[in-house]
Amino acid sequence: MSMENVTTVLSGDEAGGLAEAEASGGWLWLRSFADNRLALAGLVVVVVLTLFSFLGPLFYHTDQIHTRIGMETLPPGTGRPLGTDDVGYDQLGRLMVGGQTTLEVAFGAAAVAVLVGVAWGAVAGYLGGFVDALMMRIVDALLAIPALLLLLYLSAVFQPNVLLLIVVVGLTAWLVPARLVRAEALTLRSREYVLAAKTMGVRTPTLIGRHIVTNSIGTILVNATFQVADAILVVAALSFLGLGISPPATNWGAMLSNGLNFTYSGYWWLTYPPGIAIVLTVVAFNLIGDGLRDAFGLDTRRR
């Protein structure tokens, strides 16, 4: 339960005294977040999966480059905790490598989306008027293009690598943060501390960065976590349809899609591990996002 419950009800400085009682500095949201068990669980899951994917191979060595004929679709046993896949790769090792790609693309795409979207939205919202109208109509137009179809087309035409995938997925996802930040900017630009900065002659780019963006950080962070979750799903969807990154690289979505070919053969270790990994990660990021939203009190009126 956030402090906003009380602050919205009590007037003026009666709440100011309470704020003092609670915490100091601009990191109150961190404490709120830390008190949210589900959100913390989400964070733990993400950290564990990240460590698993990136540090796992240091402890568990498998060959993820060369296929091994004769070792296909072996069930879990000694030396192979999760068995092997249809071309002989060790499944557990594959899960780690797949995780690396999945997480890289997800984080990368989210970063691109957020950076581009925030910049676009902040500038549009702050400047207002014709510039704002123009910039947001562009966003509206781009939103009309179904992202997945665009990605399908691009993936079919160009053989994507990780970097290209990051850029492309990011560039279809920046529209949402742009809208969100623009809305924030519209509200913030008439705040008195922004006016104060104007009267001091602070230059516009500095003003936007220092006053508008920093005070939208709550919205931005929340959206960023959902961006990561969405990116994972998009990459999984692409791989599912046979597009995306080519072997020997892989990602969880590709592993899942591959494994589904063998559903009726009963090779459960080919489908469940990547499937569960995807679900866990997406849910974890959603929980983190919800937790951040609560911590910043974004659903209620805030000062």
């Binding site: 402090m3 009380v6 009800v9 003026g12 400085d13 309470l18 003092e20 009682a21």
Partner: protein, 350 residues
């Protein structure tokens, strides 16, 4: 002091006619549970409001007056704890469940908040909102509620009330909106009206008009009023008695003239000294109260005003002062102020 002949109540309490104070609060404590601490917003407050009387609750930010108002209206958030007694007429309200409270609110207790912008639902017409309490509480028909709403709007001084019924809040000015809020609060003819900073968000000329309205309504409807405000001027002109709060506790109570002409509690005296008036000498050094109000999460034993009081002693820090005074004028101060002939506060004799 006007006393109402016929006080309209909500669903009338049948039985012997109750003759005592409309509101009697005894030993009220309100604690607000925060994540890591507890705020003692109100401590040991006792007060009474007689029929037809207006009691002004004054204090500065953080003194607990708004919390007190919310407690009396039964509108505190879930993370609060209330101890003590709140008697409305002959009925105890503290500890009463939400369903019963809801019946009391609107029919026997009317509430007016500070901000007329947010007190009204922007998507509902005025007539609907004013008549809402009648329909919900007394099961009135749409037509009856509408008629009653029109009557109330007329009573609060809105021009052409029948036309206003179908307008939306955003079509009205701040002053008119506040009148609508007052109409909605009084439509069931409650016994008690709680007004929390009703004029703070309004222009000064509108404020004067609204306060005039309150006076007029008091004479017409005879309800008791609890006027919560930080504005000493408003209280001076419109309250029969004054209840001064500091750090969640009572500091001083008395008839308006007693409080303003002869304040005894050091805080009351200092507060009155620091109020800016038209008579204040221009550009002179103004009296202030040094320091800040105390942290309400600490439930100290002594008088909370000690750090800022010019007359504080060890006794003041050790023990919370008992009630002194007589008749209608009470104060809780170990070393109350004494006025000299010019009504200037001097040091109390030790």
């Amino acid at each position: 002091m006007k006393r109402a002949g016929e006080v309209g109540g909500g669903p009338a309490a049948s039985g012997p006619v109750y003759d005592g104070p409309v509101l009697r609060v005894t030993g009220l404590d309100v604690d607000i549970r925060l994540r890591r601490s507890v705020v003692h917003a109100v401590r040991g407050v006792s007060l009474e409001v007689a029929q037809g009387e207006t009691v002004g609750i004054v204090g500065e930010s953080g003194c607990g007056k708004s919390t007190l108002g919310l407690a009396l209206a039964g509108l505190l958030p879930v993370n609060t704890e209330v101890r003590g007694s709140i008697r409305l007429g002959d009925r105890e309200l503290a500890g009463v469940g939400e369903r019963d409270l809801r019946r009391v609110r609107g029919t026997e207790v009317g509430i007016v908040f500070q901000d007329p912008m947010t007190s009204l639902n922007p998507t509902l017409r005025i007539g609907v909102q004013v008549g809402e309490a009648l329909r919900v509480q007394e099961g009135a028909t749409k037509a009856a509620a509408r008629a009653a709403a029109a009557e109330m709007l007329d009573l609060v001084g809105l021009p052409r009330p029948n036309e206003q019924l179908d307008r939306f809040p955003h079509e009205l000015s701040g002053g008119m909106r506040q009148r609508v809020v007052i109409a909605a609060a009084l439509v069931c003819r409650p016994r008690l009206l709680i007004a929390d900073e009703p004029t703070t968000a309004l222009d000064v000329t509108t404020q004067a008009q609204i306060m005039e309205l309150f006076d007029r309504l008091r004479q017409t409807l005879g309800m008791a009023t609890l006027l919560i405000t930080h504005d000493m001027g408003v209280v001076a002109g419109h309250a029969d008695r004054v209840f001064v709060m500091y750090a969640g506790r009572e500091a001083e109570t008395g008839r308006t003239a007693e409080i303003f002409d002869a304040p005894r509690h050091r805080y009351t005296a200092a507060l009155l000294d620091s109020v800016l008036r038209l008579q204040t000498e221009r550009k002179s050094e103004l009296a202030t109260i040094p320091g800040r109000p105390p942290d309400l999460t600490v439930a100290g034993a002594g008088c909370p005003f000690v750090p800022r009081c010019p007359a504080a002693t060890a006794e003041c820090s050790a023990q919370f002062p008992p009630v002194s005074g007589s008749g209608s004028h009470h104060w809780l101060c170990h070393h109350p102020a004494v006025q000299d002939e010019d009504s200037r506060v001097t040091e109390a004799p030790r």
